[in-house]
């Protein structure tokens, strides 16, 4: 028996040896490449998640994440873009601003043309032409901008854009159903896809069973780009490395901003464009878009904690994170030598919204009383210790062109006692009453909270709900909810906060419209098209974005006018300021606060052209043009 086992084992060993020999003979051979031949000057950054795709259709589609956008930044050109820091809308691929919209009687469409700069090259050496532009819009419209989702409906809004035609290599014609500012701030900021690379893919995808999946799945390794860095190499879960584009011909080699608001752009051939007035004196900011590193490298870390340690050790020069550094990490890094921490506003808003479909939220006096009771400064400064900043207008302060700093702020500068007195006065003015009215002592402290609040018709105000994200999802919004609940109950408004998982919250408020008040937030766009989509009465149905159900003919008319102003930006601005005044008065929302983006970078390794701006260092311009970043320590 033992002998049999031993013999079987020996036979097995022999078979295994033969298998091993066969494996050695047939071993795949990866020729040893020797030392890394790639240039060594890399701008190394940390990211915390893989992008879901590098494919630009997927990036701008519904699956687009911030990580997709970071690692593909600046790859594809656009006709127009925004300046660094100040965010002025300026030509990029375009030689000048578009021609004013003119009505074409024959076609019954509005018409505008854009002339392209010459000799801007794709990385395969071919020029970027009007045919690429026309192909891009044609492809988007064939797939259907709405179906593509994500940013595409703003790049080719089907109620605005009729078609796009290349008149020759340098001129492109846009035909529109109506005058609409989305032409400038949506259509003309669309990424441009190279016709040569994408045309066969688009044709094949349109014939596929699922065209969108087919186009989102196209492998973009080797896709020609027009930006400073190529698509490069991607090892999932580990890194993305983008070597410099040796054929890079910047559409904007130098960008100069002047104190009087003027902008001067110089392209790669030395030709200049000037806008927003004539330059006066020395520029306050001068940015040169010439790559100073040989590659941009994105290293994937599984957690922010590991990334922060890597930054501390100098393994990376900067960490991308759309939410910014958490307070603990900021404290950990701020005393470290070689590390600089910067704080910038984010282009977002956190607000408390009302449901106008229900009593008493539909009453302006009720909303004004609530707004008067909410002391944003107290919560942001005293409770939250400055991790958030109070917000008054829907449009962020740092979106300087569109922001209105002079909107009404209920309860501004009042003490708690005065806020209560004012709120009671407003409610009484509307006819509200109490079984026990709130009472204040001589020193202003609340002696007796209000009880039994009644509507002007004498009916008791039913218990109200205030939906909010949970503490684990967003402690800041949860904190606001707790304080709002307390302050409203002090004057007898029977409200109870209800913490919900974020998707449940969205579902309740947005889809079912089953709420009284809710606290939520949005990331915003530079051009405030959200003044239309979030407040116009045409968007009040379930799943549309006017969750409040706010209906104002005055507002609707003005916002239509604002959207229709596609040529005169100063008039558009005046209209935007007026719209913010109406919103602050009518209060479909009470803007609460915004969270600054806190970021850290190795100032002993890199410099940024500017560290100020909406959304911080990872904001649009720095992110679009990694070539702006200068490596201090070339040994990196």
């Amino acid at each position: 028996m033992l002998r049999t086992v031993r013999n079987a084992s020996l036979a097995g060993l022999g078979a295994l040896a033969a298998l091993g020999l066969a494996l050695i003979v047939t071993a795949p051979r990866w020729a040893s490449p020797g030392a890394d031949s790639a240039p060594g000057r890399r701008y190394i950054t940390g990211i915390f998640e893989d992008p879901s795709a590098r494919n630009p259709w997927a990036r701008h589609g519904p699956n687009g994440t911030v990580w997709n956008s970071y690692v593909s930044a600046g790859a594809l050109p656009a006709l127009f873009g925004y300046t660094t820091e100040r965010l002025d809308w300026v030509p990029r691929l375009a030689q000048d601003v578009p021609s004013p919209l003119e009505y074409d009687e024959q076609q019954r469409l509005w018409r505008s043309t854009v002339r392209l700069k010459r000799n801007i090259l794709w990385s395969d050496g071919t020029p970027v032409t009007a045919h690429d532009v026309a192909f891009t819009f044609d492809a988007i419209m064939r797939f259907g901008a709405i179906k593509l989702g994500g940013n595409f409906p703003s790049y080719a809004p089907d109620d605005v854009l009729a078609r796009v035609r290349a008149l020759d290599d340098d001129n492109v014609e846009f035909l529109m159903h109506r005058r609409d500012a989305r032409y400038r701030f949506g259509v003309l900021t669309s990424p441009i896809f190279q016709k040569g690379f994408w045309e066969p893919h688009v044709k094949a995808a349109l014939m596929a069973e699922d065209p969108l999946r087919a186009i989102f799945d196209v492998d973009v390794t080797g896709e020609p780009v027009a930006g400073a860095f190529l698509r490069g190499t991607w090892e999932r879960g580990s890194f993305i490395d983008r070597p410099v584009n040796r054929r890079f011909t910047p559409d904007t080699a130098t960008e100069e901003l002047f104190a009087n608001g003027a902008v001067r752009l110089t392209d790669g051939k030395g030709e200049t464009w000037t806008g927003y007035g004539q330059p006066d004196g020395a520029p306050v900011l001068r940015v040169s878009n010439v790559p100073r590193v040989d590659a941009v490298h994105y290293k994937v870390y599984g957690s922010q904690a590991a990334g922060v340690l890597a930054l501390q050790a100098g393994e990376v020069s900067f960490l991308y994170n759309s939410l910014g550094l958490e307070k603990g990490f900021e404290d950990q890094l701020k005393s470290q030598p070689g590390i600089t921490i910067v704080r910038n506003p984010s282009n977002s808003v956190r607000f408390m919204g009302f449901n106008f479909r229900r009593e008493p939220m539909r009453r302006p006096a009720f909303r004004q009383a609530v707004a008067t009771l909410i002391d944003r400064q107290f919560i942001t400064e005293r409770v939250l210790q400055g991790v958030a900043t109070p917000r008054v207008s829907v449009v962020p302060v740092d979106n300087t062109f569109w922001h209105n700093p002079d909107v009404i702020e209920y309860g501004k500068g009042l003490t708690r006692a005065d806020r209560i007195r004012d709120a009671v006065r407003i409610l009484e003015g509307e006819g509200f009453s109490w079984t026990r009215k709130p009472q204040l002592g001589a020193d202003g402290t609340l002696i007796q909270p209000g009880q039994g609040l009644r509507m002007p018709d004498g009916q008791p105000v039913r218990p109200l709900n205030l939906l909010s994200p949970t503490e684990s999802y967003d402690p800041l919004r949860a904190t606001f909810a707790a304080w709002v609940e307390r302050w409203l109950n002090e004057v007898g408004i029977p409200v109870r906060k209800n913490y919900l998982a974020f998707n449940v919250l969205i579902s309740r408020a947005n889809d079912q419209q089953d709420f009284d008040m809710w606290i939520s937030g949005f990331t915003l766009t530079l051009y405030p098209a959200y003044l239309n989509t979030m407040f116009h009465s045409r968007y009040t149905s379930p799943r549309a974005r006017n969750t409040a159900g706010y209906v104002s003919r005055e507002y609707d008319a003005l916002v239509d006018e604002f959207l229709g102003e596609a040529d005169d930006m100063n008039r558009a601005r005046t209209l935007a300021l007026r719209l913010q005044e109406i919103l602050a008065r009518d209060l479909p929302w009470i803007p609460l606060f915004e969270t600054p983006i806190v970021e850290a970078y190795r100032s002993d390794q890199v410099t940024f052209p500017t560290t100020r701006g909406l959304n911080g260092l990872q904001g649009a311009r720095n992110n679009e043009m990694p070539g702006l970043i200068e490596s201090v320590d070339l040994a990196q």
Binding site: R3, S9, G302, A306, N503, S541
Partner: protein, 390 residues
């Protein structure tokens, strides 16, 4: 035995279907609209509806479950939803195929080291019961076992990566070493799979070698034969890796594995150690141990050849289950050490409600656990004559 095997296989299959149905249903009854995690609230309603239809989310639950099960029978685990961490439409099997080897390599190494260490220490502390030699390792093991995994990981990262600069902050590869290969089309699995294969080959080779040389009468001859056998393996493996030119990359992976392995071993070795200790204490009271001692055999021989061998059964069971549960343990470690394997896929897919991916991972994990149970049952039946199946 055949009847028992068939019965157990059928039981496992039914269990697996129940697990799949439970996971599927959990995602359906979770509050909130699943599409809100896939499309931004700012997405126009028409675009949102288009996404819903494209993913088949407008169909009734039972229909979706039936479609899923039909696909499963054909080894099609469906496609990922388009959420933050996953590319929409990517086959779940591709996601698993990409990540499984990383998890298997890291955690099988951890489990093997844990059990080797636990076995070695466990038998010794049981043998010297009551003294400091038992108390100290037990106390250290229990204390470390109760350290929260992320804390242990962060302390190790801080100490060995930041302070001493001995190890990297995570990941599995040094970019400059790997980049030229990746540009030629190499994927990390071209290294991971052969590494796992080398390990498996080593285990099979060792078992057969020990078996085939066990009958040699002269110990010196047996030792020489075994040494020669191991040398053949080492030379063969080195030649294979050398020919592929991937040896530096494999060593790089091992280097990157050091900190996560260290963290998990420090936390985990106590479990097998205490199991082994308890089992040894039981065995040491058995008559055959007394007989061995009475025969005048050396202490070490009694401990290793008689007591420890007999005490091995519970630890072998525990080992099989530990191997099966690697995905469970991978969730935190993979995130902390930037090792994107099955655990990280599970974590992200659950938080993003990407249930095709979650289900794929759960099915793989569940199948492994059920298989491990089956193997353990069969092992018991084969090894322990007291266990009989009707």
């Amino acid at each position: 035995m055949t009847r028992f095997l068939v019965q157990r296989l059928l039981q496992s299959l039914v269990l697996l279907v129940l697990v799949i149905a439970a996971v599927f249903l959990i995602f359906q009854v979770m509050p909130g609209d699943i599409t809100t995690v896939m499309v931004s609230p700012e997405t126009p309603p028409e675009a949102r509806q288009a996404v819903i239809e494209r993913l088949g989310l407008d169909r009734p639950v039972h229909e979706r479950f039936a479609i899923y099960m039909r696909g499963l029978v054909q080894f099609d685990l469906g496609a990922a939803f388009p959420t933050a961490s996953f590319h929409g439409g990517q086959p779940v099997t591709a996601i698993i195929a990409e990540r499984l080897p990383r998890t298997v390599l890291l955690f099988v190494v951890v489990v093997v080291v844990n059990y080797a260490l636990g076995f070695a220490i466990g038998k010794r502390i049981a043998w010297r019961r009551g003294g400091i030699a038992e108390l100290l390792p037990t106390a250290i093991g229990v204390v470390l076992h109760n350290v929260f995994t992320p804390v242990a990981g962060l302390v190790l990262l801080w100490l060995f990566a930041l302070r001493f600069g001995l190890f990297p902050f995570g990941g599995w590869q040094d970019f400059t070493r790997w980049r030229p290969f990746i540009e030629r089309g190499l994927t990390s699995n071209d290294v991971f799979v052969p590494m796992i294969g080398t390990g498996a080959f080593f285990v099979a080779w060792t078992l057969l070698l020990l078996r085939s040389t066990s009958g040699m009468d002269r110990p010196s001859m047996r030792r020489a034969a075994r040494a020669a056998g191991f040398a053949v393996f080492v030379v063969g493996a080195l030649v294979w890796w050398q020919r592929t030119a991937l040896l530096p990359l494999a060593l790089d992976v091992l280097y990157h594995m050091t900190l996560p392995v260290l963290a998990l071993v420090l936390i985990g070795f106590a479990t097998p150690m205490l199991v082994m200790r308890d089992s040894m204490l039981e065995t040491m009271r058995d008559d055959f141990v007394l007989t061995a001692r009475a025969k005048g055999l050396p202490d070490r021989q009694v401990r290793d050849r008689h007591a420890a061998r007999a005490a091995l059964l519970p630890i072998a069971t525990s080992f099989a289950l530990a191997v099966a549960l690697v995905v469970d343990g991978a969730v935190i470690t993979e995130t902390l050490f930037s090792w994107p394997g099955m655990g990280q896929a599970l974590l992200r897919s659950v938080t993003e409600k990407n249930y095709p991916v979650t289900m794929g991972v759960v099915i793989v994990a569940g199948t492994t656990v059920l298989l491990a149970h089956l193997i353990v049952d069969l092992l018991y039946a084969a090894i322990d004559p007291r266990v009989r199946h009707a």
